[in-house]
């Protein structure tokens, strides 16, 4: 009897310790940009949307990866074939094949490294189509064709204003849910730079004037796995509209003419990508 009483008392204490989330200040996270700074959609934006999904192809690559240029070519070709419906991201994690030593460009990012670790990517080149599963370049075409043409669950439109003088970039990402989405739904916003000239290891040696395409420069807001739309709801119902505003200065090291934004919506429960979009800033 005494033992049972002690047991119950212990249970009570454990219950007490496990069941209280005492929060510390600050309790709120102010938005990066006020709602009043929203860059509104124009009629043309919505008319141009054809209701079909835009697929995300992540190409995990490296400047010292000899087979990676061929994979990059496959990705670019797939993008041309599926014009407007395939977004390609060249992600450089922090392994040996991405090490810039010896005059190679440094495209490594912490975000890319975190993604690589999460998906257990070892060996390059490897890819993810809508973050379904890790596959080699030979399977990219099949994987992309399997989802291309599907109805878009979200209408994702990026609006931006870029000030050449100050290099300040304002973004308004309009996400309208066209179908119910259940789970931890998030928006990831990425900085990208295209057509960067630099060294690359190829099957025949080192190419000193290689054109690096679709280089991922890191998440725009530093949130690796995206920011939640509405964490108080288990399901975001069709019809709901979200506007995510951001503002930052584009690094001097990046070529503004080739700089663009990629945004994609994920279900963080299984990491799957629901919809993607890209937009050049100039």
């Amino acid at each position: 009897m005494r033992k049972i009483s002690i047991f119950l008392a212990t249970v009570a204490v454990i219950l007490g310790m496990a069941s209280c989330d005492k929060l510390k200040e600050p309790y709120i996270i102010e938005p990066l940009v006020a709602q009043s700074d929203t860059i509104a959609l124009e009629v043309a934006d919505t008319l141009n949307f054809d209701g079909k999904v835009v697929v995300l192809l992540e190409d995990y690559t490296g400047v010292k990866c000899s087979n990676c240029p061929d994979a990059a070519a496959i990705a670019s070709q797939l993008q041309e074939q599926n014009e407007g419906h395939l977004v390609v991201m060249g992600v450089h994690p922090k392994d040996n094949l991405q090490n810039p030593s010896g005059g190679f460009p440094d495209f490594r990012t912490d975000d890319g490294d975190a993604w690589k670790n999460n998906f257990n990517i070892s060996g390059y080149p490897k890819g993810l189509v809508n973050r379904a599963s890790v596959i080699g370049p030979a399977e990219w075409s099949t994987a992309v064709n399997a989802v291309i043409g599907d109805d878009a669950p979200i209408r994702l439109i990026i609006k931006n204003e870029f000030d050449d003088a100050t290099r300040e970039l304002k973004l308004s990402i309009h996400s309208k849910f066209l179908a119910d989405a259940t789970g931890d739904i998030r928006l990831t916003v990425c900085m990208m730079e295209d057509n960067i000239l630099g060294k690359q290891v190829t099957p025949t040696g080192v190419d000193t004037a290689y054109m690096h395409r679709h280089v991922f420069r890191g998440t725009a807001d530093g949130i690796t796995w995206g920011r939640a739309f509405d964490n108080s709801a288990m399901t975001i119902y069709a019809g709901r509209n979200f506007i995510t505003n951001m503002k930052f200065t584009v690094d001097e090291a990046y070529n503004a003419e080739q700089f663009y934004i990629v945004a994609f919506v994920t279900n963080d429960d299984d990491k799957s990508v629901l919809m993607a979009a890209e937009k050049k800033i100039k």
């Binding site: 009897m1 049972i4 009483s5 119950l8 249970v11 009570a12 219950l15 007490g16 496990a18 069941s19 209280c20 989330d21 005492k22 929060l23 200040e25 600050p26 309790y27 709120i28 996270i29 102010e30 938005p31 940009v33 006020a34 709602q35 939640a228 739309f229 509405d230 964490n231 108080s232 709801a233 288990m234 506007i243 995510t244 505003n245």
Partner: protein
Amino acid sequence: MKRLLLFAVLSLCATMMYGQGILEKSKVTGSFEIDGSYYWSDSGIGITEENINGENFGAYGFGKLQYNLGNFTAGMRFEAYQTTPMSGFDTRVKGMGIANYFATYDNGTIGVTVGDIYDQFGNGLIFRTYEEWTLGYDNSLRGIRAVFRPYNGVTVKGLYGKQRFYWASYTEERGLVRGIDGEWDLNQSISSLNSARFRATLGASFVSKYEQGKTMTDADLVTYNLPENVGAYAGRFNIGYGRFALSAEYARKINDPSAFNNWIYRDGQEVLASLSYSQKGLGAVLQVKRVDNMSFKSMRTATQNDLDLGFIPPINYTHTHSLPSMFSYSTQPNGEMGIQFQVNYTIPKKTALGGKYGTKLAFNYSQVNDIKRDSIVVNGVNTLNEMGTKGYDSPFFAIGDRMFYRDLNFEIEKKVSNKFSFTLMYINLYYDMETIEGHPGAEPVKANIAFGEVIYKINRKNSIRLEVQHLWDNIGKDHEIEVGHEDNYNKRGNWMAFLLEYTIAPKWFVSVADKYNYGNPIAEKRDHYFTGSFGYIKDQTRIAISGGRQSEGLVCVGGVCRAVPASSGVSLTVTTSF
């Protein structure tokens, strides 16, 4: 799932009943009630066909059955609410089905209940589930409860489940609730105290709710960090010595930002204390209460009385007479401080003042004020009750300037002879309509009410009762009405009321009554609310029919109120139990 459980419960019952002698030991009890109303338009009190919206007929009813065999009990309640806008119920209550079912096994040492649970920890400050038919209120917990009584006088209870939310499915998003309560009755446990004059009970409880969602983003894109687990704990004691009794309970809740408290992160606290004295012919009670941010619900976006886990006991006199009950107090979970003092004294019989049969006197004073709320500094700016902050500071013993309610009443009840008795009551009332009824801009009610009742027993079976009331409001016929706020004056101004009831014991009664708002500042609202009732009572069955006009009012039970609109119609109520 629920059909499976019901089937299992019923099968278990049936199987058990086939056993030898089972039927003799089984006990089945139950009760039924049905209320049906037919409403019609009444231009005199401003009820148009548009108000009724084609829904003239409203009905609601329930049937409860309980089966008991030794240590096993099972029960269910079927209910149907086919209400109309005239009924004054929340529209979400509409529906029908098995609203409640449970099965319990309790052998005195261990008890387990599965199904829909009604229970209370202490005074219910952090956990009370109950149902109140007249309010359309039911916040039962569907889950499991275990009760353990390891020693005499020691009870430990644990429970886990999800609350009922009208007819919404239990798979829908709502908080999960877990709680534990312990109580120790020293007089039962300690043999030397078994028959002592000194009595003591100690208790403690802990309740936590889990609701998914670590953040929430509002329309202005501000993100709020939210606690998924919100815990509340309480401690209590009851001490008695001879004719004195003292009891107190203290409850505290950690940060619980919600729609009800404007998303502030301040801890909640509540104290309830009572001191009483009782002897033959004399009783006195003094109660105090302080509530600070203690709305505790199992869903953070819930409002009104939805999904309440905690219960705030009212410490006010509950008026049952028709005029004072129009201004009943409803508790304010965001903050209130109250006091109540009551004395009951019976002047002994066969004395000069007491008369042949004695005279009962009762005095009651209660007052409720807001708590004091001081602004706090957030990011260098003085703020008060702003979302996403701690809200305010509130010194524990400081009383807020705003008075919500005050009631001073005095009652005399006297039996003059075998045939004749009377009751007289005077009430002075202050009622902050703006806060209590949520009517912005409404002026407070400052009223004096007189009540008189006379009962005359014609013979052993027949008696007649007459009730006369008058209310003097501080707002008179010539009062200037604020344009756009005419609805705030629906029950303002002077009233007079009477009720005449004739009873043929034990079965029949008939009554007529009228309430007349002759002093309403808006001439069109100076209406008579005339009603007639007729009823039949036999054993446990009661049938009553009433018809006429009903004024706008409140139905309040335990400080929780439901607003009832003015209506015209006829209704039938049948209740029975077995």
